[in-house]
């Protein structure tokens, strides 16, 4: 049995499997790593590509910069070189890799030079490595080149060695995730030789810098770093292999590193140092930023730096935590203990010793003091970085506040003068203390400190013997002074802290309230549309921004809702699509396509991206603060959940309506096939009898004239019935599909009834029809043909369901703004529970058993009446029989 200690951690194995899976669908990345320009990376890469091509692999050159070197250019021969994307930026035409072109061409292997390149601003991604990642994600293998100094974590080491700051960097994870790394090595002497021979490409404007850079010492150091880095990689791979294969070995002690970030420029350096330490120890690492009340007043420049640093840390693979608390050291140590952190990295303070002492010791001192077993590493700053941005708070405390505290102390002094003599001087100190507390609470820290000092002076001057002099006779008073000053300082410090905390709480609370309000409104929203409207409105109000929501439809994104009058162009839509497909934010303030005015955020739920939220700042010069971003993220999460919920509900509804449509269709088929077949049978029967008789007539002539006539009448009657049925079906279809436009015109109701009765003469010939309508009926706007159809259907039903020869009554009455029609028969009426159902499509009343019909007539009536804005219902008459009533509202004629 193996020692459990050696067992691979299941979580780790899972991560490994997932990484493996990801790698299989992803393209493979091979990096040709060099330590300086001119070592021959591109050359080596192209040679390798040639080799692949000769193995029959589909290789294209997506982007290669030959810098005019003949032997490199020669190597391009035989390759398919994809055209580059030309783009003009600030009047200069520049070439970039055509990412979409490569994606479209979809080769097996794409060769992309210079991984660390920064794209021109109108490109989809700001960096080429992001392009490469997209290629990999699309399953395309990539060969690429990079120099060691472009590696994020090497950035400041390189600067220290060479004095050159490299601006184009790539995240370390690219290196970690690369499937293969090939170090292109060249002894430094040879490289320098090549440089002298002009074989190394040097941009004209950089000749000087390059000379400085290509010193032997520099190159040797860089070479060493790159070799070491590659060796680390190999080491990683070996360890990873050993882990999966459960080979016991020298496991790392399980270090965990915590990097404490603050707002000053040292942050970036700290993060890089953390990453290196984590790499060296093969340890997990996290970066924490503790937001204190004071940060609320931070200049936006500092806030943005923090955001940048946190992003950087994430890029380098750190777990990032943002906590808030007034006591930085305490908060950090709590986090560290919870996470079994073994090493803490902090930056060396930039403030003077005095300043720190006044504030009760630096955070570092506090951390070191309370860290216990945890090692604390202090990273020092570099001289040139000593550009501390002055804390904005000092400037913000207005001089009025100082004036006010001076006045306050004066007032206290004046008030205390008359009571002097009646009270012990030491008790008068209380008045001054009160002044200090008030200053601290209302005016802030600075004014309250001033108040403490002034109080001491005033007390000494006015109330301590000898009065009106600074001198003190009784040395006991020195103690009083010190006490007053100390109490004043402490109170001012804690009171202003309290104030800050209240401020912060208030800010937090308003954020929480906003989130709460949104979630309440979203809960109340019943369908997708109202959810979207709520999101648009609340976001628009909260962030003072134009907001748009795009939802997927098929493979496309559709603008579903937006701030009134706001829409996006095709370009922005493309960014939104990218954000949707990649599940990552894009646009302004992100790494992808940041040159636009809009920011697109994927609305993510556990099931994936349900849509895209786009915000456009109305004031283009303002970026979102850290707090606002967090709030926006919260909003986006909430919205995503609500949208998902609403679309599920909608889908369920659709499924339900589909099911009911299916039910309807089968009802229709049942009903129709029966109803069509009956008349057709009698028509065919009659006609074939006649046909047969005609053929045999000469010999027999069996049918009498009367029989023949009967057959013919039956056939033509059935044909008419069939025609009515088809007509009904047609009407129903048109009503349902909304094709029926009301052809409303002023109609004389008497005339309408007359016309209907005229049309139905044949059906009604044996009936007594009673029409009652007042003579003074006004003319009413309606579609006479459709309302006529309603009456026809009702009369037809009345004939069907009442005894032959019985009377049918039609009456029209005027009820204020309604015209009410009713058709009464003397049949059996209907069961109470069927009263509303008979107006449903294909519903056939139980009494309809023997009578023919499709159950459409009344449904058509309802459709027509409702199209007129009226209603229709049925009642049983007391004396027996059914009364169907419908109303048509009388609207003012338009003409």
């Amino acid at each position: 049995m193996m020692d459990t200690y050696h067992r691979p951690d299941p979580d780790e194995l899972l991560a490994q499997v997932q990484a493996e899976e990801k790698r299989q669908t992803r393209g493979k990345l091979k990096i040709f790593l060099g330590y300086a320009a001119g070592v021959g990376k591109t050359f080596a890469m192209l040679e390798a590509a040639h080799q692949r091509r000769s193995q029959g692999i589909d290789v294209v050159i997506a982007y290669v910069q030959t810098h005019g070197r003949k032997e490199t250019e020669a190597l391009l021969d035989g390759f398919e070189v994809l055209p580059q994307r030309q783009s003009s930026y600030r009047g200069v035409t520049l070439c970039e890799m055509d990412l979409d072109g490569v994606l479209h061409r979809k080769p097996r292997l794409a060769v992309v030079d210079e991984l660390a390149h920064t794209n021109i601003p109108d490109s989809r991604h700001s960096k080429r490595y992001q392009d490469v990642e997209e290629l990999l994600a699309a399953g395309i293998d990539v060969f690429t080149t990079v120099n060691i100094q472009h590696l994020e974590s090497m950035n400041d080491v390189v600067r220290q060695i060479t004095g050159v700051t490299v601006r184009e960097t790539i995240p370390d994870r690219l290196m970690d995730e690369a499937d293969e790394i090939e170090v292109i090595d060249l002894p430094t002497d040879e490289l320098i030789q090549r440089l002298r021979e002009g074989k190394v490409y040097v941009p004209d404007q950089a000749v000087h810098a390059i000379e400085k850079f290509f010193r032997k010492g520099n190159l040797t150091a860089l070479r060493e770093i790159s070799l070491r880095r590659a060796a680390e990689r190999v080491d990683d791979q070996m360890r990873s292999y050993m882990r999966t294969e459960d080979i016991s070995g020298p496991w790392p002690a399980g270090d965990r590193i915590l990097v404490c970030l603050s707002s000053h420029p040292l942050g970036e350096r700290l993060i890089r140092a953390g990453r290196r330490l984590a790499d060296d120890l093969n340890a997990e690492w996290m970066v924490v930023f503790v937001e204190t009340p004071g940060h609320l007043k931070m200049p936006s420049e500092n806030r943005e730096r923090i955001q940048r640093n946190l992003n950087l840390a994430e890029q380098m693979g750190a777990r990032v935590e943002i906590l808030s608390g007034a006591q930085v050291a305490e908060t950090i140590l709590t986090l560290a203990r919870h996470n079994n952190v073994t090493k803490i990295l902090v930056g060396k303070p930039l403030r003077s010793r005095w300043y720190e002492l006044l504030r009760g010791g630096s955070v570092i001192d506090q951390i070191i003091h309370a860290s216990g077993k945890i090692d604390v590493y202090v990273v020092s700053e570099e001289a040139q970085q000593r550009t501390i941005s002055t804390p904005a708070r000092a400037q913000r405390v207005r001089w009025e506040s100082y004036l006010k505290s001076v006045l306050l102390v004066s007032v206290v002094t004046v008030v205390s003068l008359p009571v002097y003599g009646r009270l012990e001087p030491t008790n008068l100190v209380m008045f001054f203390l009160a002044a200090v507390v008030i200053s601290a609470l209302w005016f802030g820290r600075g004014p309250s400190i001033l108040a403490s000092v002034l109080s001491v002076v005033a007390f000494d001057f006015f109330f301590v013997h000898p009065r009106y002099s600074i001198a003190v006779n009784d040395t006991e008073y020195v103690l009083t002074f010190i006490g007053l000053l100390a109490v004043g300082l402490i109170i001012s410090s804690s009171a202003s802290l309290l104030r800050d905390q209240v401020d912060q709480l208030r800010q937090r609370e308003s954020n929480a309230r906003a989130v709460n309000a949104l979630s309440k409104e979203l809960t109340a929203a019943v369908n997708l549309d109202s959810v979207l409207q709520v999101v648009i409105r609340v976001l628009g109000q909260t962030f003072k921004r134009d907001v748009i929501i795009l939802l997927p439809e098929g493979s496309n994104l559709n603008e579903k809702a937006a701030t009134k009058g706001f829409s996006i162009d095709d370009n922005e839509k493309g960014i939104a699509l990218w954000a949707y497909h990649n599940g990552q934010p894009a646009g302004r303030g992100t790494d992808t396509l940041s040159a636009t005015a809009m920011r697109f955020m994927p609305l993510k739920t556990s099931r994936g991206v349900v849509g895209i939220l786009g915000v456009k700042s109305i004031d283009q010069s303002r970026y979102l603060t850290q707090d606002e971003r967090m709030l926006l993220d919260n909003f986006a999460n909430l919205s995503a959940l609500a949208i998902e919920r609403a679309s599920f509900a909608e889908q369920a509804n659709q499924a339900e309506s589909l099911r009911s449509t299916e039910r309807l269709q089968s009802a229709l088929l049942n009903s129709i096939s029966h109803e069509l077949r009956t008349p057709l049978s009698s028509i065919i029967g009659a006609l074939t009898s006649l046909e047969e008789d005609s053929c045999t007539r000469n010999t027999a002539g069996r049918l009498t004239h009367a029989t023949r006539l009967e057959l013919i009448r039956s056939a033509s009657g059935q044909a008419r019935a069939l025609n009515r049925l088809v007509g009904n079906l047609l009407d129903m279809t048109r009503l349902q599909s909304g094709q029926v436009r009301l052809n409303a015109a002023l109609t004389d109701v008497q005339e309408l009834i007359g016309a209907v009765l005229g049309q139905m003469q044949d059906r009604l010939h044996d009936r007594e029809i009673d029409v009652s309508a007042p003579d003074d009926l006004p003319m009413v706007m309606m579609d006479a043909m459709l309302v006529g159809q309603t009456l026809i259907n009702l009369l037809d039903n009345a004939v069907k369901f009442s005894p032959p020869g019985s009377r049918i009554c039609i009456s029209v009455v005027l009820l204020e703004t309604l015209l009410q029609f009713s058709v009464q028969d003397q049949g059996l009426g209907i069961a109470e529970e069927e009263r509303t159902r008979i107006f449903d499509k294909f519903y056939r009343g139980s009494a309809a058993g023997q009578a023919s019909g499709t159950g459409l007539g009344l449904a058509i009536c309802r459709g027509i009446v409702e199209a007129h804005g009226g209603s229709i219902w049925a009642e049983n008459l007391v004396q027996g029989g059914l009364n169907v009533i419908f109303t048509i509202p009388m609207s003012e004629p338009e003409s």
Binding site: L757, G758, V771, M785, G788
Partner: protein, 231 residues
Amino acid sequence: MADQLRVLVVDDEVEIRRFLRVSLTAHGHMVFETNSGQEALRMVVDHRPDLMILDLGLPDMDGVRVTRRIREWSKIPVIILSVRSQEQDKILALDAGADDYLTKPFGVGELLARMRVVMRRVITMEGDPVYRAGDLQVDLSRRLVTVGQREVSLTPTEFDLIKVLAQHAGRVVTHRQLIQQVWGNSYEDADRLLRVNITNLRKKIEANPSKPVHLMTELGVGYRLEGDDQG
């Protein structure tokens, strides 16, 4: 009416043409057929038919256009065949000068009656100024309307209305045609006036205005003064 008519049948459905050919030939008429509007226009010139039966839905040009083109140079009576969903086209065709319509499906009896009515127009155009149907008599030259023995007193507008209807007796006259001929082209509120006058007219000439026997309504299309269909 002439016993033998030369009838041009324009319909793209073979079965309808066959049915019309058989029935009309049986009644002694001579039938020409075509399935296209263009061809129909040519055949009106070539064969000089007395009457045209025109389906609204033709493959090459619709019946409304055929009617318009024909009316540019010919007064040949035209009977429109329509189906239920072509209400609007039907009215357009009537306004364009078609003489009457039949909605498919229809019986031969109905068709023959319509044919008689439209042919009579051609005959009475110049002739008899007196219209008779049942107990209703309209004497156009004397501006006299009687029901049975009773003389009916009409307003000038009512008389103009019944005059137009009587001149087209047995045939449908669309709302627009009536308005145009009685009130002229641009008369505001003519629609309402038309309905009011028709209602009043009915009260004067019908025994039961709810069940008219003379002045019939064609819902959504227009009015028809029942002809004295004795042939």
